[in-house]
Amino acid sequence: MLKQLNYDNLLQLLETISTDYALQVPTLLADGTRLLANYGSGELSLTGPPLQRKPTSAFFPQTELLLTIDVEGQVHLPQPEKPVALFGLDRTDLAALTFLDRFFCAPPADDIYQRKRDRALIISLTGSAGPERSFLPLTEDNCDIEMSAVNGQYLALGHSELGQGFLDGFADGDPQQLEDLRRESAQQVSPAELLQQASRLLSEERVPDRFWKEIADKCILCSGCNLACPTCSCFGVQDRQSGHGTERSRVWDSCQLDAFMREASGHNPLGSEQLRTRRRIHHKLVADVERWGELGCVACGRCDRACPVGIGMLAVAEEIVRRFN
């Protein structure tokens, strides 16, 4: 199902979605940056720089109540909230969502994640939607509606039954425009090629330990890389007593921190910054490939933008390829 929407149609669609969904849309901040924020909380921004806040946090938030255990020992799960709808995701955002979906839903499935994800509506935004209306390649995957900005209009492709339902009633789109978008998307160069090269060098053990020492020496342990990464999934489980009993929550954790793997005995398999820095890169470029068959980095560039000392994933991968290829 291919439809054509003008700006007013798009606003009408978002308004309709917002009645049944907790809708988040690209929103302009005063400093010119953008983030996914609640619909209606600020100015809708349909072109511009990447959304720095990771969209996967809608399903795996920084802190999250998992359950409550009452004084009798009975377990109570949180009541379902309004389902989530996300609008404005690009190709890397959807790749990250696909990665996390597979990770959390692999047996034994994480029911807390899956319950939210199953009810969600995902709408990508591609075409002339990048910085200064630059081209963002089509996503073609893992979304309900693909929305592409073309000549001031929006070409909407309904991928799922749910997405198609929302597009009913809008004018038909031009298939030739979609073909043109596909052709242009195929010509885009992805930084994933750089990551593949770095992955190969790491797998072949071509990167010496002294390299990790060098990178680790620059790290200021802010953990910004992990917090910004849309495929990072590590968390700690915390129990706290409240008036109702015990609240069990989870909170994002960072493999860059000393306590990440430290055991009560004092044994710490990641007991140095060098080992932890290697782990951060190696896990995404080698271990994830071994386990899931693909890189754990989607080349979104968030960690590179977040890192104050220039040792984000793409920067480190570039250095690995430059020095050890």
Binding site: L77, V237, D253, A264, H267, H283
Partner: protein, 282 residues
Amino acid sequence: MSQPSQTETSIYSPRPCRLLSVNKLTPQDKLFRLQLRDGSELQHQPGQFIQLSIPGLTDAPLSVASSPTRNGYFELGVRKAGILTSALHRLQPGEQVGIRGPFGRPFQLDDLRGKQLLLIAGGCGLAPLRSLIQYCQDRRDEFATVQIFYGARSPQDMLFQQDLSAWQTGGSFNCRYTVDKKPVDSCFDGETGLITNLLNDLQIDAANSCAVIVGPPTMYRPVISALRRLGLNSEKQIMVSLERQMRCGVGKCGHCTIEHLYCCQDGPIFWLEEVEHLRGAL
């Protein structure tokens, strides 16, 4: 935050357990016997672990120290080391805790059956190994010879001392124990020195032997070298238990990864050849 409601269970839901008895093993270790509050069996296999929680305290992974062949209860041998284990040590029989699990890949019993077994533990490693030893005791005809090797820092640090004596005198097993240091006034009649000393002079039928190692990280490489010298060089001859700080137990939280493996799901029991090439595994 949403209001809680009782709808479904989650992989993060604990099950209530009653503490049946608490016994002192060493000045810093206790044996806890528990029963699920609904009276059901834990249905674990030797080598698996559970996540134990006490109201208000974050749960922690603990190996099950008893065999599933012993019905009506399960046991945990726990050293007082962190916040949760300290709180557990203060509990009395009749009090309640929560557990999740059992989790993880157990000892591969099918591969051990019919073999001559070398069961090797160091320090707290005897707790998970005890589940296998009890299993061998209760199903003795399923295994060929069973030799138990245990090393501890000192006689007073030895776990399960009653069991150690019973295994030594019971006729089912050959047992050798060693301590790093023996006080002059100690009545300990075992050996002194590293656990590898117990292995160096062994005469075994290597082709029909399997070894299981559970102990502190520093123990693995020297013990593996000693076993290699004895001729255990083929695949599926050496099994290791790799303990990590599991926080979720279900392969999601990421704290127990060893390269691409998740210790809580892929382990904690591994064949040596599955992990020896992985950095940080041993």
